[in-house]
């Protein structure tokens, strides 16, 4: 029998707000443990939550970008369970009436084509803290809790069970990550946990409508880990079903070291969450005016940016596609291209040199020492023939290493292009005179030696001579010598 997987995803994104969702503590990642806390996020008796308005703004952006129906009134609820990293003993979330519902995301999978993935709902909630079971403490029967993450705003994006392969899941996550970055609401960093994905997966015989028993996969901290875990789970479930076995409904954790899934201890997820409306917070009301305001304030989305790049910069579709893949790269390109005549050349440099540097350094574009302005400076110097292409690349490399201003690099190292014809002519004469054997061979028809002379000139000028000028003048000079030779003869 052939089985088809049915997969649904729950994605949590941490919002890039300055402060937490219900207090004014910083929501920044990576601070020392328990340094970003206050009575509210510590859940002290007597405190009350106050909803951060920015969270609603961000939620509206995502809702609009994913074609969701935004509820005029949504309810904030309490989700009750005990855990040491949950100070109040409940998580403030949404349940019956979420922020928005019934959206979709378009994905494209190589070889499979385009597909719409339905979104069941998106709701607001607060993040919990982190329990740390570091070895030195476990030995003393102790665990540590870091409350910094408590109250960091999250949006939970629940998809319909529309995925039929792990590759569709990857495509969706890639798309979603691109989207949240474009919206400026989440950095999409799965390694740091600012974008987290849990998957529900079941198998059923192809053609059958009824769903099989599902398992839930957790603890995957990259898109490829999600794909691998799903592939593993498909193999595991297939093997069980082939042997006539039954799938046990359970939560499984992906172990990336061993590349296997492992069951979670059942106690940790057997909850009756006893949701009920959070009496400390009023319902979230989105008025028509608020919605209009959000629509008009929507940032440009990838598709629109692609189209604009083609129209505004006259870029080929391929370039527009590559440049808009990542918002930061698109921004880098636009800033670099701003003062440059030849936009296509700016695109080439970003797609070539800049992306190569990103790959080599494995960092984000913001961390490159070369800035869009630096690149623009190089491009302008090229356009104005102040330097040649070869020097341009060298300056780029230097700037990449040092972050120094390209004009200064050029000045300091005396890399200005020599376009002065008389200087070049003098040099050519000198070189032709110093290499009589090569010259006569050339004049006898060994035209390949043209390159030799070019090389000599470039060597002499340390590459600074304008290649076009050199080319023309050398041809001219050689022609003159030819004529002289003929005349003599």
């Amino acid at each position: 029998m052939i089985y088809e997987p049915v997969i649904g995803l729950e994605v949590h994104i941490q919002l890039l707000t300055q402060s937490k969702i219900f207090c004014s503590c910083s929501a920044k990642f990576g601070a020392s443990p328990n340094s970003q806390v206050c009575p509210v996020c510590l859940g002290m008796p007597g405190v009350l939550p106050v909803l951060n308005k920015k969270v609603i703004e961000f939620a509206l952006r995502l809702a609009l970008a994913t074609n969701c129906q935004i509820n005029h009134r949504s309810i904030i609820e309490r989700k009750n369970y005990f855990y040491p990293d949950l100070p109040k003993g409940y998580q403030i979330s949404q349940y019956e009436l979420p922020f928005c519902e019934h959206g979709f995301v378009d994905i494209y999978v190589e070889g499979l084509g385009a597909k719409k993935i339905g979104l069941t709902r998106i709701h607001l909630e607060e993040d919990a803290g982190k329990s740390m079971h570091s070895e030195s403490y476990v030995a003393r029967d102790e665990s540590l809790v870091d409350v910094n993450r408590c109250g960091v705003p999250l949006l939970e994006i629940v998809s319909d069970p529309d995925f039929r392969s792990p590759r569709e899941v990857s495509a969706y996550l890639t798309k979603l990550r691109q989207l949240v970055r474009y919206l400026g609401i989440c950095d999409g960093n799965m390694e740091e946990g600012s974008l987290r994905c849990d998957a529900n997966i079941s198998l059923r015989p192809v053609g059958q409508q009824q769903l099989g028993v599902k398992t839930e996969l957790k603890n995957m901290n990259s898109i490829s880990a999600v794909e691998k875990a799903l592939e593993y789970e498909i193999r595991r479930q297939t093997a069980i079903l082939h042997d006539g076995g039954k799938i046990k409904q359970q939560t499984l954790l992906w172990n990336s070291n061993k590349s296997v899934v492992e069951p979670m201890r059942s106690k940790e997820f057997a909850h009756d969450y006893r949701y009920f409306p959070e009496p400390d917070l009023l319902p979230v009301i989105i008025t028509a005016a608020r919605l209009e305001q959000a629509k008009s304030a929507m940032p440009e989305l990838p598709q629109a940016k692609r189209t604009r790049f083609i129209e505004q910069y006259k870029l080929p579709e391929y370039d527009a596609q590559v440049l808009t893949e990542d918002l930061e790269i698109a921004d880098f390109f636009e800033q670099a291209a701003a003062g440059v005549q030849d936009k296509k050349s700016a695109s080439n440099w970003v797609m070539g040199e800049v992306m190569r540097a990103l790959n080599e350094q494995g960092c984000s574009i913001k961390n490159l020492r070369i800035t869009p302005q630096h690149l623009a400076d190089i491009l302008v110097m090229l356009e104005q023939h102040k330097i040649n292409l070869k020097i341009g690349k060298a300056v780029f490399e230097e700037c990449l290493q040092t972050g120094e201003n390209p004009a200064e690099i050029v000045a300091k190292k005396g890399l200005h292009q020599i376009s002065d014809s008389s200087a070049i002519e003098t040099l050519i004469d000198k070189i032709l005179d110093n290499n009589p054997a090569e010259l006569s061979s050339y004049l006898e028809g060994k035209e390949k030696l043209f390159g030799f002379f070019i090389g000599q000139i470039m060597k002499e000028t340390q590459g600074k001579a304008n290649p076009k000028t050199v080319n023309e003048l050398l041809k001219q000079k050689l022609r003159q010598r030819q004529e002289t030779t003929i005349n003599i003869n």
């Binding site: 009575p39 510590l42 859940g43 002290m44 008796p45 007597g46 405190v47 009350l48 939550p49 106050v50 909803l51 309490r78 009750n80 005990f82 040491p84 100070p87 109040k88 003993g89 409940y90 665990s143 809790v145 106690k267 009756d272 006893r274 949701y275 009920f276 009496p279 400390d280 917070l281 009023l282």
Partner: protein, 484 residues
């Protein structure tokens, strides 16, 4: 000078006239607290701090820079968070909890130079109607120390009645200000839900809780409310509706309509209570008020609705007391789950655990619709009953409690009977309406009887006007104070 007999309004003129100082007033109350330790009204007393504040305020009075509540010596229910002062909530689980922040109301009252003399005793986390559910021993009624003061703000009511302070703050979730005010013969005001910021009140049932004053006079209650009220950005459920100045309110009730809900005159009503209420109604009638019968048809479901909603919210509100970050922790547990169970089993009292279990049950999957959701629907109906009634009347008058103060231990073994003592007070909390209880007579044993006035949302002004009128014109209210 007998400070005992003075409310703040009278005391203030003496302070301004320099006939008495804040330090003298504070010392007087501190002595009274000391002499009346058997009442057990206070859990903590800040003698030194209060005297130091009194000195500062005496100086301000001399300079003419003192606030509107200068020298008002206040008892604070120990359910309100006070910075750097132990806040127990009447529970063992918070025996040593010292908060690093303070309730908004306390900040506001402090800014007007009220003096905080101590934290008053209460039913644990506000759960109780007799103040017998305190880890710090029951409070006794100053009128008869074999009787309860009512609850849960029993310590505050007893402290005011016994003149251990000028006034006190209480909290009211289902009658916790009004019922003890009635039992102790003082004025107790529960403001409209949202009128006073709840920030810094340890939550029992968040959608019902309100902080309010207990005082010797209606004027004092009105004055305190004025400075407690107002929108607070730290409490999303607080409202920005201005509070009128009580001192300029018109005292007459002539031509105003008073609703008497027929459902409130039930068989369990003590005859003495009934006649005191009848007398009060007669007084209003004689003074030109129009008395109308109104109907609040869903009254009989109020107690059940209240105990479902309040306990559901409490079960979540009290989940934070888990021994992880602060408060009592069982140190002998061998794993996390055991730590939770032991800390909470040993840290909470019986009534609190009963309510947590009840609340957990009504929210459980499979029971939610039958209990919690249904209770929310009934709550809406109760609210509508009042809206309907207020279309025709300016205020509604009822007894505060069906009985006067009962004996200590009389109802402890029977929680259901105990719950019924809230029958006249819980509806207001469900509807979010303001209510005031003030003395309107005494029973044959000399125990105070309270009358409750209920107003429209944010119309405290109207019930204060009625209350002030009754206070001034009721011939049997000649002696409010108790000598203890």
């Amino acid at each position: 000078m007998n400070i005992s007999s003075l409310d703040y309004s009278s005391l203030r003129s003496l302070l301004i006239a320099k006939e008495i100082s804040c330090q003298e007033v504070t010392r007087f109350y501190l002595d009274k607290i000391e002499q009346n330790r058997q009442l057990n009204a206070f859990i903590s007393v800040f003698a030194d701090k209060a005297l130091e504040r009194a000195r500062e305020i005496d100086y301000k009075l001399a300079q003419g820079t003192a606030g509107s509540l200068a020298g008002l010596v206040l008892g604070i229910k120990d359910l309100l968070v006070m910075q750097n002062a132990r806040t127990t909530c009447g529970s063992k689980i918070l025996e040593n909890f010292i908060p690093p922040f303070q309730a908004t109301v306390l900040n506001k009252l402090q800014a007007e130079d009220a003096i905080f003399i101590g934290k008053t005793n209460l039913d644990e986390f506000g759960m109780g109607s007799s103040n017998e559910n305190s880890y710090y021993k029951p409070v006794k009624n100053p009128h008869d120390t074999t009787r309860v003061p009512g609850g849960s703000s029993g310590g505050s009511a007893a402290a005011v009645a016994g003149s251990l302070c000028t006034a006190a703050l209480g909290t009211d979730t289902g009658g916790s200000i009004r019922q003890p005010a009635s039992f102790c013969g003082v004025v107790g005001l529960k403001p409209t839900y949202g009128r006073v910021s709840r920030f810094g009140m340890v939550a029992y049932a968040s959608s019902l809780d309100q902080i309010g004053p207990l005082a010797k006079s209606v004027a004092d209650a009105a004055l305190l409310l004025r400075f407690m009220a107002g929108f607070d950005e730290l409490d999303s459920t607080s409202a920005s509706v201005p509070v009128a100045d009580y001192s300029v309110m018109n005292g007459s009730v002539k031509g105003l309509r008073v609703g008497i809900p027929k459902e409130y005159f039930i068989s369990g009503l003590e005859p003495d209570v009934n006649s005191a209420i009848e007398n009060t109604i007669q007084l209003l009638k004689d003074s030109g008020a129009e008395i109308c019968e109104v109907s609040l048809p869903h009254t009989e479901y109020a107690i059940a609705t209240y105990y479902i909603i309040a306990t559901a919210e409490a079960s979540a509100n009290l989940a934070r007391f888990d021994g992880v970050r602060y408060g009592y922790r069982d140190e002998h547990a061998s794993n996390l789950e055991e730590m939770y169970i032991n800390s909470r089993t040993n840290g909470f009292g019986e009534e609190v655990k009963r309510r947590i279990m009840l609340g957990t049950y009504v929210l459980s999957s499979g029971y939610y619709d039958a209990y919690y959701r249904k209770a929310q629907k009934v709550r809406t109906l109760i609210k509508k009953d009042f809206e309907e009634a207020f279309k025709t009347v300016h205020c509604i008058l009822t007894p505060t409690s069906p009985t006067t103060a009962f004996r200590l231990n009389e109802k402890v073994a029977d929680p259901l009977t105990m719950y019924l003592s809230d029958v006249f007070t819980v509806s207001l909390n469900l509807a979010g309406l303001p209510g005031i209880s003030l003395p309107c007579g005494k029973d044959k044993q000399g125990l105070p009887i309270g009358v409750q006035l209920i107003g429209k949302a944010f119309d405290e002004q109207m019930i204060l006007r009625f209350a002030g009128f009754i206070e001034k014109n009721n011939p049997i209210l000649n002696n409010r104070q108790v000598s203890v």
